[in-house]
């Protein structure tokens, strides 16, 4: 079917040209979209973005069960953050407890965050292989147990080791939590292209 949309000039090549084009496009309401026709030829055209919908109407499309799924995914992510920030917000107390400086305590945060990306990749693959349910159950329980292990860490070295392990499991939560929360949403307004997902995932892991 021939499109009636206005043709657009093709995507710019090169870093600066892309940045320039992207910046200019910010001021145009229509979106530059790459379209592929039946012959495999690609060209750009301007498409009018879908009109904004009333969020309350969208919320109403979710059934009670969908909300419950969402809530559990949300809570998993919240618990994850709670466990992490339980440390970062209490650095002063921990420094007094282990008789060391605040800076030394924050080494634990660094270690946690470093291993978080490793955990995310590992549990992401587990989620694809063994399903979303049991990896997430095991993940959350071990996360809790590591939190208990932190309490019983006798020396500062043990404390750091436990927090590194904690990072591994902390990273795993998000992937399975979002899949649980969002897989049942009828209106999917998230990124669909796996390539785009990866582009977003890498910086998230690094930061």
């Amino acid at each position: 079917m021939a499109s009636t949309n206005r043709p657009a000039d093709p995507l710019a090549k090169g870093t600066f040209a892309t940045a320039k084009q992207g910046f200019k496009d910010l001021f145009v309401w229509d979106q530059r979209v790459v379209v592929r026709n039946d012959y495999g030829e690609e060209y750009c055209e301007w498409q009018r973005p879908e009109p904004l919908k009333n969020p309350i109407t969208l919320f109403a499309q979710l059934r009670l069960k969908d909300w419950l799924y969402f809530l559990v995914g949300f809570l998993a992510w919240t618990a994850d953050a709670f466990d992490f920030h339980a440390l970062s917000i209490q650095t002063t107390k921990l420094a007094a407890y282990y008789k060391t400086s605040n800076t030394n305590i924050t080494t634990a945060i660094t270690l946690t965050l470093l291993l978080r990306s490793v955990g995310a990749a590992a549990f992401g693959l587990c989620g694809d292989k063994f399903g979303r349910k049991w990896p997430m159950v095991i993940n959350m329980i071990i996360l809790g147990l590591l939190q208990v292990a932190t309490i019983y860490a006798a020396t500062f070295q043990q404390f750091l080791a436990v927090r590194s392990l904690f990072g591994l499991f902390m990273g795993g939560v998000y992937g399975n939590a979002i899949s649980m929360a969002l897989e049942n949403c009828p209106y999917v307004c998230s990124l669909q292209d796996p390539n785009q997902m990866l582009i977003v995932a890498v910086p998230m892991l690094v930061v």
Partner: protein
Amino acid sequence: MSGILQQGYSFGYVLAACANLGVGGATNTWKTVFWVGAGFSIAVGFLRVLFPESKQFIEAKKAGKSGKTPGAFWAESKVMLKKEWRMCVYCIFLMTWVCII
């Protein structure tokens, strides 16, 4: 919805801050907050048991997709990084900047 979900992280921070305020400033009180966190996580773990496996996953399994091997995952990541490394670097700086604020 994913935007609301993202706020779960901030919500967790707020709860941790409340717990921290709740237990006071004595040195050994940090353990209480950690106990609360442990209980919270384990509770959510058990809560998850009550819900079935994701439909999408079961369908994918039926369709014969038994999940990616780590090798395939890395191969795909490499292709993506090669093609979109500039975008990745940009996003890393963007996220870092956002997190610092």
